[in-house]
């Protein structure tokens, strides 16, 4: 190939490269989504209730469903702080009237629950429908979501006990949410246009200002807070969280003997990892009750029973209630049978 023709070729390739991005016909890429496909995935519900499915549910049905599918994590009244932050509590009939949660106004709010914060009931519908229950997301039918929400709304004293929530009255309920006037978008941290230009926020103007002073910037250094002693050791031995060479070392925050113990490769057993990954340890401690019984208690109860393995397998797989009190064990269809068998053996052998 002559030098001349080579340079022509290079030019041609360069031309192709620059035009590739402006190309508007990505032939063969993507296809039209069918209406059924869009329906299957487009499940979002907006504050104006665009996307809301038709349906209804009452407080009584919601009470049953909540006890069956939700109470194991959230407590029977959505009040539990054991696994997740509480759903219900901290709001008053006065808040329902004013649309501002009084605890935020006085600064006296010991626990921010979902209902103290959320301004839009659409959010609650959207989230329960897409992500709950914890181990079986997207398994609730619209009527069930309405019923569970009716139960919430009754617990929060927003609707009476005989209330039926539906797609027809949900917009009216949103106007009673206790923190409906508690949100502001007047800030500089929205990356789009300002409210004045049809968007959200102030167009990016920061609210906190510092200056780049370089010398004699203040007379004295005021220390507002230092690391509490308990926090120095709460994260384990920091010596082991830094390299053993280089400009610095980690500080030994656990004394000599304990440090030697924690320095051993004490990684979790395969079974512990499996229990963690399968979500067991959210509700059961190996040696303590959390929501459900500790594995030590389970072992103690079942250890002399010949059919313990198969009975526990069924309890884990299908769920159960009554053996350990009223809070039910939810079904765990997401965990593979062989993994359940491994876990049951592990629990019965002491869960070490």
């Amino acid at each position: 190939m002559s030098r001349f023709s080579k340079s022509i070729l290079v030019l041609a390739l360069a031309g192709a490269a620059t035009s590739a991005f402006a190309f508007d016909n990505f032939s063969g890429i993507g296809r039209l989504a069918t209406p059924a496909e869009v329906k299957a995935w487009d499940i979002d519900v907006r504050p104006d209730f665009k996307g809301l499915p038709k349906g209804s549910g009452n407080v009584d049905r919601g009470t049953e469903l909540f006890e069956e599918k939700c109470a194991s994590c959230h407590g029977s009244f959505g009040e539990s702080n054991e696994v997740f932050t509480p759903l219900i509590g901290g709001t008053t009939p006065a808040d329902v009237k004013n649309g501002r949660v009084g605890g935020f106004l006085t600064g006296d709010i010991p626990q921010r629950t979902t209902f103290t914060k959320v301004a839009t009931i659409s959010t609650v519908f959207d989230y329960i429908q897409r992500a709950m229950p914890w181990t079986a997301p997207k398994s609730l039918k619209p009527d069930e979501v309405y019923a569970i929400m009716a139960y919430f709304l009754n617990l929060a004293e927003i609707v009476p006990a005989d209330f039926v929530l539906s797609d027809q009255n949900i917009a009216e309920v949103q106007k009673k949410m206790p923190n409906r006037n508690g949100m502001t978008t007047d800030h500089g941290m929205w990356p789009g246009p300002s409210a004045a230009k049809g968007g959200i926020g102030n167009g990016g103007k920061p609210d906190v200002k510092n200056t780049a002073c370089m010398s004699n910037c203040k007379k004295e250094v005021r220390i507002g807070s230092v690391l509490p002693d308990y926090a120095r050791t709460a994260h384990g031995n920091l010596e082991e969280q830094n390299r053993s060479f280089g400009p610095v070392r980690g500080v030994r925050t656990v004394d000599g003997d304990a440090a030697a113990v924690s320095a051993k490769p004490a990684g979790p057993s395969a079974e512990t990892a499996l229990a963690t990954n399968s979500g067991c340890l959210g509700c059961h401690g190996t040696n303590n009750k959390i929501v459900g019984p500790g594995f030590n208690e389970v072992q103690a109860r079942y250890k002399d029973q010949a059919d313990a393995e198969s009975r526990l397998f069924d309890k884990v797989k299908a769920g159960g209630q009554g053996v350990w009190g009223s809070i039910p064990m939810p079904p765990h269809g997401h965990v593979k049978d062989e993994d359940i068998k491994t876990l049951v053996k592990w629990i019965l052998s002491g869960a070490k």
Binding site: D24, F26, G30, L32, A33, V38, W41, D44, P47, K50, F84, F104, R112, K117, A119, T120, T123, Y127, A131, P137, K138, N179, G182, M183, T185, H187, M189, W190, G192, I200, D207, N210, T211, A212, M214, K218, V221, R222, I223, G224, S225, V226, L227, A231, R232, A234, H235, L238, Q241, N242, R243, S244, G246, P247, R249, V251, T276, N277, G279, G282
Partner: protein, 449 residues
């Protein structure tokens, strides 16, 4: 610890001088058990062949050739996927005990205290999952693009990974920071090290397709559709609202690549959204759907969580941008300087509003400042490494860094931040971090107002 006698190659011919300053103080205070342990440790060090000490002739590590100089090494492909050295087992992603009760809705923090430069090794990238992580089969993964109203998008479409990876791609380096990074520290010092104060922060080179290109391929109507909803394919199917302006200017992209390979499952394999400068929760992982619409969506993570409580009792909603911030990573909390003398003080700066322009460092708690060296090239909305020379005289010091971005915004002090936002905001704490150094060389977390 900061025991100089154990430093490699440190010439210290008198073996009786093995006690550190702290140990001498402990003995003076009558803690004899400390002395016994120290003798045991020193004895062990002397008999251990690997802990050879310097003699008058020189360093035995030089005088006696080590086995790696006198034996045959391992063949190629011993580790088909390479792993760090056996001596690098200490820098790991870690959880903060007691922060959450369920591992599937939790955080693991990136060990910033030992990392260099600006790129986070993929295996150490911080994690935040809302309903556990999944390892999604790329052959079965789909990306759907639709409109909240048929008028907003001419053709709702479905793309496979095969198709997405045929499209023109971009590769860009960006930081990702959780909106709750440093959130534990709003009211007071709570955690000991930079891993836990700032470790919900990582930076990678991401590769993927600009979302603009896909929306235009579907025939988006930019006049009507001013908001974008991104949705994940995991159990939580996490959703967040993003302004269309960030899509139109070409910044937002759907990424499959991270640091030269595919995304890691914990980071959204095989597809995640990249929203430069915006908090991590908007970078939806396992991305399955994009919807364009005319209104924001008030999803759970922008109506219940990721809202910032102000002293007035109002919550700020749709806070997204990560404002300019920096932190010194070496030396940092929970570390100990080995001895007096020279140190390269090093840290990270970043801004969700663009490039870092300047970083100043103070050694006296913010009375005087010196401008640090910026390691370039400085990238847009990416971590930026800074370094500054320092000779420690053995006296107490308080180290701080203060970043300035290209908009002229100067990172605020705790006093300035709290004056406006109080102490209960949880999210978006970008205050100047202070590390106090005492005579023993120990560095600890303090807050200077």
């Amino acid at each position: 610890m900061g025991d100089i006698s154990k430093q490699p190659g440190h010439l210290q011919p008198a073996p009786e001088s093995f006690l550190t300053e702290a140990e001498v103080q402990a003995i003076a205070a009558g803690r004899r058990s400390f002395l016994r342990k120290s003798f045991l440790a020193a004895g062990a060090a002397m008999v251990a062949p690997m802990a050879a000490r310097a003699t008058e002739a020189g360093d035995p590590e030089i005088l006696n050739l080590p086995t790696w100089s006198t034996t045959l090494g391992k063949p190629v492909a011993t580790n088909p996927y390479g792993i760090p050295s056996q001596y690098e087992s200490q820098l790991l992603r870690r959880e903060s005990p007691g922060l959450t009760r369920v591992g599937g809705a939790s955080v693991s923090f990136c060990p910033l205290q030992g990392l260099f430069g600006i790129i986070t090794p993929s295996g150490l990238h911080f994690e935040r999952h809302h309903q556990g992580w999944q390892d999604v089969d790329p052959a079965r993964h789909r990306l759907m693009i639709n409109g909240s109203d048929p008028a907003f998008l001419k053709s709702p479409k479905v793309y496979t990974m095969d198709q997405l990876m045929r499209l023109p791609s971009v590769s860009r380096i960006h930081f990702i920071e959780c909106g709750a990074n440093t959130g534990l520290e709003w009211g007071n010092v709570a955690v000991p090290t930079v891993q836990y104060t700032h470790g919900m922060l990582s930076c990678s080179e991401f590769t993927g397709v600009p979302l603009k290109l896909l929306l235009e391929d579907c025939g988006v109507d930019y006049k009507k559709a001013r908001y974008v909803l991104a949705e994940g394919a995991d159990g939580s199917s996490m959703t967040r609202t993003i302004p269309m302006e960030m899509v139109e200017n070409g910044e937002v992209f759907v990424a499959y690549g991270m640091n030269g390979e595919m995304l890691r499952p914990e980071n959204g394999y095989p597809l995640r959204l990249v929203v430069p400068g915006v908090q991590g929760v908007s970078w939806v992982k396992w991305l399955r759907r994009i919807e364009v619409g005319d209104k924001p969506y008030a999803t759970k993570d922008e109506a219940v969580h990721y809202i910032d409580l102000l002293p007035s009792g109002l919550h700020r909603q749709y806070t997204s941008v990560q404002e300019c911030k920096s932190v010194i990573t070496t030396p940092s909390g929970g570390q100990r300087l080995l001895e007096k003398g020279f140190y390269n003080v090093s840290g990270l700066a970043w801004s969700g509003r663009g490039r870092i322009k300047q970083v100043d460092v103070s050694f006296d708690g913010g009375i005087n400042w010196k401008t640090a060296r910026i390691e370039g090239p400085v990238q847009n909305k990416a971590l930026t490494r800074f370094n500054i020379n320092w000779v420690w005289d053995g006296k107490p010091a308080i180290l701080q860094s203060r970043a300035i971005d290209e908009t002229g915004y100067v990172q605020p002090s705790y006093g300035q931040l709290r004056e406006v936002r109080g102490t209960k905001s949880i999210y978006h704490n970008n205050a100047i971090q202070s590390w106090k150094i005492v005579e023993s060389g120990e560095v600890s977390n303090v807050q200077v107002l």
